[in-house]
């Protein structure tokens, strides 16, 4: 996924516009609870086994894009 695509997912989960690729999910108001939904959406969109720890480690779209690219494809 591109950072821009991840930023769109951030926006849909948090219901905000104009998320930048260096914005932190948690600084934008994301909670550990909304992060659960974020992870599920990113997993569906990327086909990779994204986990909550990935968002904790890399809370920006730019960082997450690299982290997701490094994950193996999800098992079906």
């Amino acid at each position: 996924m591109t950072p821009e695509a991840i930023a769109e997912v951030f926006g849909s989960v948090l219901d905000i516009d104009d998320v930048l690729i260096d914005d932190s999910f948690f600084d934008l108001g994301g909670s550990s609870f909304s992060a659960l939904t974020l992870v599920s959406k990113l997993k569906q969109a990327s086909g990779r086994p994204v986990r909550l720890r990935d968002v904790v480690r890399e809370p920006s779209p730019r960082g997450l894009a690299d982290a997701i690219a490094a994950l193996p494809p999800a098992e079906s």
């Binding site: 659960l36 992870v39 599920s40 986990r51």
Partner: protein, 335 residues
């Protein structure tokens, strides 16, 4: 209906089925589950997993749809190869499963569920069917720590599952709070430190006996409403989570509004992960005096049924005795 009889003993070599009625923690932190599985295997249990135990729902909040999670529970109850069900984690999600369960299948295949916190809805559901369960343990929260679970937790689990009679619950000593986050590897990978002082505080000494019911207090008004419970004659246990932000005065007020708390057989209040034991005991005492001033039953605070570890594993719905000389005990007799 109450008290329920002890379930059949679950012993080493018996088979535990991990189910996830609630949050998808096993998906997010699978290595924690592996550590817990190793601890159970070392005790001699066989550990298996329900189809959606490692799952993730579309909204990310639970391990699957309500139908998927309920089907996992039903399959575990119906499977003669399964001796007990162990939840992976709780959090949320149990209440929405109740209408999807088949009580006739469960009654025909009675076996204990081991859980805590949000799974109180399942414990109470099973108790309503006359089936005993165990409250105070989960795969992830209680058994998955780096360095292994605390020995007191293991002893409490195996004594309860083995239907040791009587089951006597004594203070377990100092406690450890949960890690700040399971999803921060730096935090999750550090063994828990028992830096919260243990020990009980008797607000009102005495002796009381009755079926043990209860759970995490913010959920109890909904439990009472759902099951039309009357707590008169009940030994009521409750605690708060490590993130509870409601004052205890509000929590007890709401519970007292939902059901009569004046006629309990006794009250067992777990330790609070956010407060020092004397402060917590004083807050509970003030709230009880304000909202249940006429109560005369024994009350103990800072008990070892709480959102810290080590912790007791308690037979939910069984006859229990609370005594300021003997502590909390369960005769665990059948018939």
């Amino acid at each position: 209906m109450y008290p329920v009889e002890p379930p059949r003993p679950v012993l080493p070599s018996h088979r535990l089925r991990v189910v996830s009625p609630g949050m998808p923690t096993l998906y997010h932190v699978p290595e924690r589950g592996k550590r817990a599985e190793a601890a159970l295997t070392a005790l001699g249990f066989e550990v298996g997993y329900s189809p959606h135990a490692h799952g993730l729902s579309d909204d990310g909040i639970t391990s699957g749809t309500p139908r998927e999670r309920a089907a996992d529970l039903m399959e575990a109850f119906a499977d003669p190869e399964v001796d007990a069900l162990l939840i992976s984690d709780s959090g949320t999600g149990s209440l929405e499963l109740l209408d999807l369960l088949d009580p006739e299948v469960i009654k025909a295949n009675p076996k204990p569920l081991i859980g805590f916190c949000d799974t109180v809805f399942l414990h109470q559901y099973l108790a309503g069917l006359g089936i005993g369960s165990y409250y105070g343990c989960s795969l992830m929260f209680h058994l998955g720590d780096v360095g292994g679970p605390f020995p007191e937790t293991i002893r409490s689990l195996t004594r309860a599952l083995g239907v040791e009679a009587p089951l006597e619950c004594r203070p377990l000593g100092d406690r450890a709070a949960p890690p700040t986050s399971w999803h921060d590897p730096a935090s999750e990978a550090v063994p828990r430190v028992r830096d919260h002082p243990g020990g009980w505080t008797w607000l009102r000494p005495g002796r009381g006996a009755g079926p043990l019911l209860g759970g995490e207090i913010s959920q109890l008004p909904e439990v009472v409403e759902r099951f039309k419970l009357d707590y008169r004659g009940v030994l009521l246990f409750w605690d708060v989570t490590e993130v509870q932000d409601q004052p205890v005065d509000t929590l007890i007020r709401d519970l007292a509004a939902a059901t009569d708390l004046t006629g309990l057989a006794g009250m067992v209040v777990g330790a609070n992960p956010q407060l020092d034991p004397p402060v917590w005991a004083a807050e509970v005492a003030a709230a009880l005096e304000r909202h249940v001033p006429e109560a005369a039953y024994p009350v103990v605070v800072n008990a070892d049924i709480c959102h810290m570890t080590p912790s007791w594993v308690l037979p939910f719905g069984e006859y229990a005795e609370l005594d300021d000389h003997k502590g909390l005990s369960f005769p665990r007799t059948r018939g």
